[in-house]
Symmetry: C2
Subunit: 207 residues, 2 copies
DNA sequence: CATCTAATGTACGAACTGGTACGTTAGTTA
DNA sequence: TAACTAACGTACCAGTTCGTACATTAGATG
């Protein structure tokens, strides 16, 4: 055995990284504690030392995944764009995020499969997410005041419209490949789908 | 022990019914063969007798679930409607189907989690599904010829647009309930979302 | 440099879980 | 009604998997 080096932070982070992949790929019950440990430079013992157990590790993974994606979203500056362009920009950012974070999408699926029972224990997640919708709500208000947007639309509905398109494309990639012989993530169609989403949303919003 | 009655068909069907729920609810690895058997009037032995094993049982479940939903779709008659109304009708049928078959939606998620590796062994599924898109393609052609629809739209893309909205609403119900305190399946919002989808799709298609 | 503790490694057990060997019986058929 | 087979039940095994008891050590602290 090579002489070990101690680095609590590194060990914790490494466990989280590997666990994220493992849980995303295999689901909660499908994920193997031994497998996670084997793919790190530490041992299974450390999962229990740092997190307490499989479930708490999963919780930590989930929290970090959401925190990362919402933090990135908040960096978007839409105030200098006109409402139509701003909505399109937000849709594009969501589109790009989903594509860049397949593990996150899978974790959302895993959590829904469990009726979001773990999520309820992480109050911080609610704040994180509602702030993302607030951004969109502001743009919609601006568009309404300006007269460009219809005034019967709800921000959360628009957020769902955008999310569903982006989510589906990543989440159902494999069944679509098998059933329709179409790779929804094929690079050559990326621009097409990105534009399509923008058209869809702005088309729906316009008076 | 009560005297047993023999009924091969009933036993098979009962196993499939229970297995559908079990796999949908717990995923492939999360599903328990013992649990499935316990919830039927027969024993675990019969799973191996009729299907061969856990994996083949899952395959049978998947195939039947897709067959059911596509069969229902084919009953829709759109030829007597004008293209716009026909598209709206197709969207509504898909919407209703997704809502009425949550187990099916979950199975799609489960299968994607496994990179659709089982689906590839069921050639029949491909035919089933492509025929559903053919129906839509016909309507789009008609609308184009008529001059109502734009002529740069692909039927598969429209199908995805519709599916993603319907799928998301059911699949991500729980995380949305937790994060945004909104029950996407709440009965009071059902009509709203159904209309919204129709508006969205027809709005996108119109010239 | 002696001491102490956070951090780490090893070995193992108890429960679970998919699968099977083997025996039994309901209902059909000659 | 005797013989036969599809249908079914019981008991058990072997591998897996989460979790833990216990031993060890790197590096900080005084």
């Amino acid at each position: 055995m090579v002489e070990r080096q101690r680095d609590a932070e590194r060990t914790r982070t490494e466990l989280l990284d590997v666990a994220t992949e493992e849980f995303a790929e295999n689901g909660y019950s499908g994920a193997r504690v031994d497998e996670i440990a084997a793919r790190t430079r530490t041992t299974k013992r450390m999962i229990y030392y740092y997190f307490g157990g499989k479930e708490q590790l999963y919780l930590a993974v989930l929290e970090r995944a959401y925190a990362e994606i919402r933090a990135a979203e908040r960096t978007v500056d839409v105030d200098h764009l006109d409402p139509v362009a701003a909505v399109r920009r937000l849709a594009e950012v969501t589109f790009d995020h989903h594509e860049a974070h397949p593990a996150f999408i899978k974790l959302v699926g895993v959590e829904n499969a469990q009726h979001a029972k773990h999520m309820n224990h992480v109050a911080r997640l609610v704040d994180l997410n509602s702030s993302a919708v607030d951004l969109l709500r502001g743009v919609l208000d601006r568009g309404r005041a300006e007269g460009t947007f219809r005034d019967d639309v709800d921000a959360l509905d628009v957020h769902m419209m955008i999310s569903s398109f982006c989510f589906f494309r990543v989440a159902n990639r494999h069944t679509w490949g098998a059933l329709f012989d179409r790779d929804l993530l094929d690079e050559s169609r990326r621009g097409h789908y990105r534009t399509m989403l923008g058209d869809l949303v702005t088309g729906y919003l316009r008076k």
